[in-house]
Subunit: 274 residues, 4 copies
Amino acid sequence: MKEKLKTSWKERLHEIIYEADTRAGKLFDVILLVAILASILLVMLESVEHLDNKYHNFLNISEWIITILFSIEYILRVVSIKKPLKYIFSFYGIIDLLSTIPKYLSLFFIGSHHFAALRALRLLRVFRILKLARYIGASNKLLISLKASRAKILVFLFFVIILCVILGTIMYMIEGAENGFTSIPRSVYWAIVTMTTVGYGDIAPHTPFGQFIASIIMILGYGIIAIPTGIVSSEITKNNSNSIDINTQSCSHCAAEGHKDGAEFCYNCGSKLN
Amino acid sequence: MKEKLKTSWKERLHEIIYEADTRAGKLFDVILLVAILASILLVMLESVEHLDNKYHNFLNISEWIITILFSIEYILRVVSIKKPLKYIFSFYGIIDLLSTIPKYLSLFFIGSHHFAALRALRLLRVFRILKLARYIGASNKLLISLKASRAKILVFLFFVIILCVILGTIMYMIEGAENGFTSIPRSVYWAIVTMTTVGYGDIAPHTPFGQFIASIIMILGYGIIAIPTGIVSSEITKNNSNSIDINTQSCSHCAAEGHKDGAEFCYNCGSKLN
Amino acid sequence: MKEKLKTSWKERLHEIIYEADTRAGKLFDVILLVAILASILLVMLESVEHLDNKYHNFLNISEWIITILFSIEYILRVVSIKKPLKYIFSFYGIIDLLSTIPKYLSLFFIGSHHFAALRALRLLRVFRILKLARYIGASNKLLISLKASRAKILVFLFFVIILCVILGTIMYMIEGAENGFTSIPRSVYWAIVTMTTVGYGDIAPHTPFGQFIASIIMILGYGIIAIPTGIVSSEITKNNSNSIDINTQSCSHCAAEGHKDGAEFCYNCGSKLN
Amino acid sequence: MKEKLKTSWKERLHEIIYEADTRAGKLFDVILLVAILASILLVMLESVEHLDNKYHNFLNISEWIITILFSIEYILRVVSIKKPLKYIFSFYGIIDLLSTIPKYLSLFFIGSHHFAALRALRLLRVFRILKLARYIGASNKLLISLKASRAKILVFLFFVIILCVILGTIMYMIEGAENGFTSIPRSVYWAIVTMTTVGYGDIAPHTPFGQFIASIIMILGYGIIAIPTGIVSSEITKNNSNSIDINTQSCSHCAAEGHKDGAEFCYNCGSKLN
């Protein structure tokens, strides 16, 4: 009990920002999630020309508020962790920085419009908060099943791509440039559009023989969708019985995540967990 | 026995309208179902301009008949239940009222055309009668499986939407307004159209690099459809334990077993089965 | 043994035409299958205008040959069965007749062109021969699984249709006639095109709000495809262990089919099987 | 041990080229894979007109280098095997030859442009190297499952095609040539496009009744995709427990492949394996 009272403000901040086991930690995650979604909405609305013309000032000020909030959060993240450099050069550390900078750049450079799109990277930050989703208990088993079937699905997708290249080349020879199949890459693009049953219709076969081959591709695509589905189904069925529960703690020393529920020491560096 | 005979007309009415265990109750549900479907057909046909011009009077009178029938049903529902207010402010109570009112409004207001569309809400009433469907015995286990996999599927759909927002933003940057990707929301709409393999073709990538990214989105969409399917499959497999395809009769003459359901004669000795 | 030798030519003919357990019976089925496929090819080629202009005589004579062959087969079928009327008014009896008549009619009536399309019904006859497919042993279990999950899938499809009607009506109100949603039936058609991920693109939402609703429909359609798949998967998994073998015999007395392998008596009328 | 030292250079070459169990064998396969993919990229880029105009010399020289490398590989393959004729007339032997010849032909014949497309056949060679993929251990069980469900899936695809022919013919009668359904084969093509949920939109129904039938086809197609998925799912689930490990050795005597891991003698000819 005494140990808990002694925890410095840094440790408390770490608990709030990096973990989601305490009430404050959960609240922080929820607020962050709302802020990220709001900022994404801003980026979206800004891209709609007639909205940007009408509400330019409102959108601009909102964007500044969110940028400053994210900057404060970034500084707090750096301050509250024991090895700041590890965080700064981690995947999320770089994204946190990249999605905050563009607005500041716009002060110094005119035409930094293209950097603005970087702000969309903020959405990736949602995935960090989605450790929240582990509380649902559902996505955890799902991830294990998906990891187990990853190799098979990659082999399958590789096979689909090879098939599309071969079939696209065949269609390029059959239909030719006069029917829209102007080059092999474009024909392969068409084959992928068809095989995956998307079917835009921007390119479509015109010759009877081309339509015959296209029919075969469609039926193939309709049939082989069964393969990844079968792989994942069987994997999930298998994993439906035995489960591993992981909590959302992250080590305050080395930032390792994925600790077993009830673990007292970090599996990575051996330091004590809260 | 005496208690049953004493049941007031209110209780009998409640049994007929709200339940489906008695013959009268089932009959009421079937009639209501037919009336709802007929009224939906009317709403549909009215919306087809050349049909409305030709048969306006017939459609108008039919609509009045159905509106009056539904009004009577509404009043009976209010009268026969013990807590009328609870029904009136329940989900179905509000729908029952909203789908009846528009026709009456057309007497007092000119141009209440827009309220007329509310009548389509009647279709929602079908779901109430679909408690009938539980009698088929099939949809019941299905609902249990779906409820069990609801959390996982929501997580999955949330993930798909995030992916579409990120990919849509990327395509907005690659293709730009000159190729139809005029804003980020529109590009996200395109990403959803592509990821779900719908593929209208109203917006389609034109640059080679855009088509390359589009191909990746399609193959992703083709692959990750496996996930919800796998979730539901395993859940249903788990809930699906007992089945009856063959009956348990054994021939009283030769003791052969495994007779087909509905078989009248023994497949082995030809003697009559019970 | 003696009984078998005594079998009259009628019984032998019945064995050849209606069953597929003997060598002659299998050969007959294969020849019939080829003839049906050839006749379907003829119907197809005739419908292609420039081919019909070029090879009219060849196509016409071939059609006559096949029509006469099918007429002979029809007569033999009537002769060799014990209850001819039952066959004549059975599903396949009517199809056999309807698909033979149109050519004869063309002798007496000019402009019996429309009856000619009836010949396409011949393709339905393929399904009768497909009892051959039962020899693969594969489609048998499949059919049992499908029959078992029929009720659930019908409930599901019914639910999809209701959903499409509601969503179509909503889109009719949002988009309106100026964006191609000219009537509710047409909007429902669009909702089905979208929900099933077909996505022609002949009708597509133009307003931002319409595109938002459309996105929801697509994601819904992408997600709920998991339901029928899950139903069938679990059903097949269940039936994969315990199998029921059914042979292709049909009772010479009452024409009942689907007898268990090794059954000596008809389960329907109790008469002896061959 | 002594035996291994005595192995002639032919046997060593065989080990390197035809097998992937040794380090040199794996390296050879990886280099070959890269060369094939590079050559396919060349074929693709050559087909893009503006790239071919710009970098014609670079593409031409690269193509010559790869052609000569493949020619050397072909000669080594012939030399290192004990029965060269068997290799030369095998499936891969013919592909190896056909994909090398076109470039040489271009020296002697002007306008041998059409033979150039044969070079795309090289992609088929990737599948030979994909015996590498067996090391992932994943695709092996997958192949067993797919082989087991092959018969069922063929029956299913056959059924889908019959359904498309019947539905296409019906739509030809309903919609007719004025709505784009100009002939039965074209209508069948449309039915396949719709049933498989591809939905190009190059042909689409215009009459209300045609749209009604189209809706039924779509819902059918949406529902019956469940069948192949269910078949494969249950098959993979079944095979998920018991596995057979096969290594990549091929017999130096008879070229038989698919030896069990640890096998010392060829199952086909009985000669010793390395």
